[in-house]
Symmetry: C3
Subunit: 337 residues, 3 copies
Amino acid sequence: MALTVAEVAELCSGKLEGDGGATVAGVASLKSAGPQDLSFLAQARYASQVPTTRAAAVLLAPDSDARREGPVIRVEDPQAEAIRVIHALGLQDTSHPFEGVSDKAYIDPAAELGDGVVVGPFVTICKGARIGANCVLYPGAYVGRGVTLGSDCVLHPHAVVRNAEIGNRVVLGPGAVVGFDGFGFHPTAEGVMRVPQLGRVVLGDDVLVGANAAIDRARFDETRLHKSAALDNLVHIGHNCTIGEYTLIAAQTGLSGGAMLGARCLLGGQVGLTPNVEIGDDTRIVAKSGVSRSFPGGGTLSGSLAKEHGAALRDLIELRRLPELAARIRKLEQQQS
Amino acid sequence: MALTVAEVAELCSGKLEGDGGATVAGVASLKSAGPQDLSFLAQARYASQVPTTRAAAVLLAPDSDARREGPVIRVEDPQAEAIRVIHALGLQDTSHPFEGVSDKAYIDPAAELGDGVVVGPFVTICKGARIGANCVLYPGAYVGRGVTLGSDCVLHPHAVVRNAEIGNRVVLGPGAVVGFDGFGFHPTAEGVMRVPQLGRVVLGDDVLVGANAAIDRARFDETRLHKSAALDNLVHIGHNCTIGEYTLIAAQTGLSGGAMLGARCLLGGQVGLTPNVEIGDDTRIVAKSGVSRSFPGGGTLSGSLAKEHGAALRDLIELRRLPELAARIRKLEQQQS
Amino acid sequence: MALTVAEVAELCSGKLEGDGGATVAGVASLKSAGPQDLSFLAQARYASQVPTTRAAAVLLAPDSDARREGPVIRVEDPQAEAIRVIHALGLQDTSHPFEGVSDKAYIDPAAELGDGVVVGPFVTICKGARIGANCVLYPGAYVGRGVTLGSDCVLHPHAVVRNAEIGNRVVLGPGAVVGFDGFGFHPTAEGVMRVPQLGRVVLGDDVLVGANAAIDRARFDETRLHKSAALDNLVHIGHNCTIGEYTLIAAQTGLSGGAMLGARCLLGGQVGLTPNVEIGDDTRIVAKSGVSRSFPGGGTLSGSLAKEHGAALRDLIELRRLPELAARIRKLEQQQS
């Protein structure tokens, strides 16, 4: 599969500057692109690499002042158009290394498999599980009793799902654990009781769960991730959390039990939310923040006792004035004496 | 299995207000309870849901002023009594999806299995391992050479245990790793040497290890979790740590090598302890704290260089005074000039 | 295998003080050593244990003033010499519980296995994978299509490697995930696009990856860990990161996409790096730091907006002066009035 530079320009609805005859067979970064690769400038910090890239053509924003001798294609959104070309060229390998149902898998006779389901070796599918059409289960994947998977889901190696209802096109990364018991204890005079965990997990369509991430089942009711929510590696979602659609959560962030995130939120890595906080739609939370109260949404939060980011920055500026304040006090004291 | 509301009141040694005839077949949250469910008010923040819950009856503390038209049962500890009813009704499914010993498992001939042990498919049990009566090993569980498991343990899918001695009724969550090598390096003039890890892990009775958590074997001697200690998901316990009985550690917290926690401590999530710190019994550590020195126990710690929580709060109050202090300095300067 | 104390002294090029006739068959901590064990004092904090240890002999630095009645061997580096003796006595069990190629494994016919490769049960090796001589693959290990492993690698239970080229003597801990997709999203007016991940992971010789750690494949090009880099448990390495040789990263630390660490860096636990920061060689980063800009290398960084450690400490000292500054302002105000 290949396109000419001129065909790429047309595909991207871009304006070609320079010759359109060269062949484009791949997409690569500016630094590593070869003469058959398309490249693109998505972040100004890489502009200095444009003049020297060996790429067949470079996607540039209309107002970019990066310069090169070879062909350039002007497009509104170079990142998005590069992705479009990757898909057009079929560069992303969406095939899987297994076909059919492995005779090295364990499938309970009372499980149901839809058409086209692929089951790799060492997969376990328990009683009452229903696997939608075209799902792909990699080696070691575990589907517990009564779990429902929609169609076109991918469970990567050793992904575990129990006590759950899973939508369509959901991806569970390697080692991801969905539906294990929440961490609940109740102290009494006679000692600590374990709180029974009876609820489940519901994952909407197109949810993505990263490698070795964990989503606990609810105590009662549901832990729910809405459509297209995505978790990076090693994220922890406690029991009874709710996460809105299109919300993205970077690696190693943790939500305590009952925390609620609205739609289209963006959380950096290593963020922590305390139990039961409620964060509104379209909130951004800076990496490493600790969020211990609720926010209505729409803003950016930061800090270890997270507040609105502007206020947090003002706090930092105040802090940096400390040596100056101390000097001014000293001066006042000298004048006094 | 079902009880009448009156029978529930009797079971809980509670005082019934209203009619005791309705049937209770489940326990649910106030919000989702149906007419055959018992519900309960454990946290004042949910009091507003009491009037509208559809529950057959609601467990309330004697002094709660929440009101509803339907039946109420007054009990000292609504949370504990709800758990009692859950157990009485058999609502927690403690069965397992496997029976007997799977012929798809790998069991070394020189391993010993107690009575009633359940071994799922794709389980590995190595030479010299001894599995106590009624243990349940889920698919992918791995028990290394010479490991001893007490009775009634549950190893969830892909749990790995090596170099370890495990008590009774221990639960290892999916993907939990017990007994891998500690992370030890010794810099020398000729480069960095890896420090051999020769010790083991000892887990007391009723220990719980969360999904994808990791407990390293000791360098020499033992990494030890005492009776009923519990780790949430993605917790890291370095080599040679000691954790006291009934201590609870929330998700993503990490203990560096040699750290010691006393009994009945409560650690929030994403806490970090530096190597070899010693924390006494009954200490609480606020989420995200960084603990870099030892504390005698009994208090609450917080902050990134954790100190006694009251002192940490006073620091915060001082900090918030900064703009006011700056204004007062400015005023003094104006008076001076 | 055993040595006399005199032979140990000779092996370590040490100076024996006391009788050299006792037998040394093990190496142990001061506290737990028995009469056939060698022990050593590596940290001054354990000096008080020297007089009472039951060890056959104790390795002490030339200038240590710790005293005991029994034999002492003076060596420049007690830690390094203890490791030497551990190796000489063969105390570290480097054997594996499996031999040959298990008939319970799944090996694609188009995979290549070098001489002496050990494949445990429930291992998956996909098409085009090449496994170097003497590699050991524990149960549940997964080697994806086209992956190359050098010789003498160890993949512990459930380690997953895809889209990767692996050097010699690399160790992947239990549950480690190498080569899963990076977490990339591109917001557009029509919604969020997933950014295709086309690159791979390259691990140099002697790299160590801890339990349940995750290393993402690059978007394009490579995520690369150079020779002898080591990751502790639950570390996250985002797409396109580069980590220099001999760099050590403690547990639960996370590197965002494109972050670069030089050679011989030491990172504490729970550190976070924001995308694309570049940290020079020989940098130390204190546990829990958040690094959001680049540093040239050679220093120590700390703090949630990490800066040079000395400056961070001075900030803390300024902070502690706040109550005193407030008191001095109060005094000035009283004098004024």
